[in-house]
């Protein structure tokens, strides 16, 4: 259950019952200047691996990315 909260560094697990894949993709597009990404779809999670470009930003950018995705979920429903 807590797997999602163990995002340390640059790997985030989004619960696919709570976050849409298209929303995650759109958020990645919005943060494309900060990091390169790789998406994997597991049984219950969408796993996103992020690589910061030229050490731009920090862990807070990743959390901002999560907030952005949640904002889109609220606006798109």
């Amino acid at each position: 259950m807590d797997s999602c909260f163990n995002y340390s560094g640059l790997k985030i697990c989004f619960n696919n019952k709570l976050y849409n894949l298209c929303v995650i993709e759109e958020s990645l597009g919005a943060f494309g200047d900060f990091f390169e990404s790789k998406i994997e779809i597991e049984e219950n999670h969408i796993v996103v691996e992020l690589n910061l470009i030229d050490n731009k930003g920090d862990i807070f950018i990743v959390r901002e990315f999560c907030n952005y995705a949640l904002g889109l979920m609220q606006n798109n429903r």
Partner: protein, 208 residues
């Protein structure tokens, strides 16, 4: 089972809120979370059909207290639950009003088409009886049936012509008077005014 609770993680500066999704559904949690996006970092997890977990993590230089933040989140949940319940109750009335507002435009179009039909019917109607009535002679001692233009239009023109003539006459008189005033050294200003008043009185009498 607790309806709602939270676990403080002081080391990580985060709090995890557990929400019973039967009381606060997923869309209510989304709405409440959206309000907190500017104050903290939020991550959702759990099962939307059983229990939803919300992690609130403080931002970089935030001075907020996690316990207070969590309780405010509960309040926001209740706020949106109430709002959505009211919205659900008012939905039929809202939809009716919207439908009425949108359909009123169609109503105008229908009215216009009906008006066109009426005009067509009037054009196709048999007006011979009314035309016969118009041709018949009838008594009009008060002059009610006389059109306004016939009654006043020509007369008013005549009046205008008369008034123009009068103005011309009065101009001639004025010229005579001024010539008198200029050439007679004995004529004083008072006498000149008296002559003018006499002339205007004469004009009024003629008009009467």
């Amino acid at each position: 089972m607790e309806t709602i609770s939270f676990d403080l993680k002081e080391k990580d500066a985060a709090v995890v809120i557990k929400i019973n999704s039967k009381i606060y559904p997923l869309h209510t949690v989304y709405s409440a979370s959206y309000v907190f996006l500017d104050r903290c970092y939020i991550m959702l997890d759990g099962d939307p059909e059983k229990e939803i977990l919300v992690e609130l993590r403080l931002k970089k230089d935030s001075n907020l207290e996690l316990g207070v933040l969590a309780r405010e989140f509960f309040n926001e949940l209740l706020n949106y639950a109430f709002y959505e319940e009211q919205s659900r109750k008012n939905a039929p009335l809202r939809n009716t009003l919207l439908r009425a507002a949108l359909l009123s435009n169609i109503g105008v179009q229908e009215f216009e088409s009906e008006e066109e039909k009426c005009n067509e019917d009037l054009e196709d109607a048999d007006w011979s009886e009314i035309e016969d009535l118009e041709d018949e002679e009838f008594e009009d001692p008060e002059g009610i049936a006389v059109p306004w233009e016939e009654k006043y239009g020509e007369n008013s023109q005549k009046e205008e012509e008369n008034s123009e003539e009068k103005i011309e006459i009065s101009d001639d008189l004025n010229k005579e008077q001024t010539s008198e005033a200029i050439f007679s050294d004995d004529l004083q200003q008072g006498n000149f005014v008296d002559k003018q008043t006499e002339h205007s009185e004469k004009q009024f009498e003629e008009e009467d």
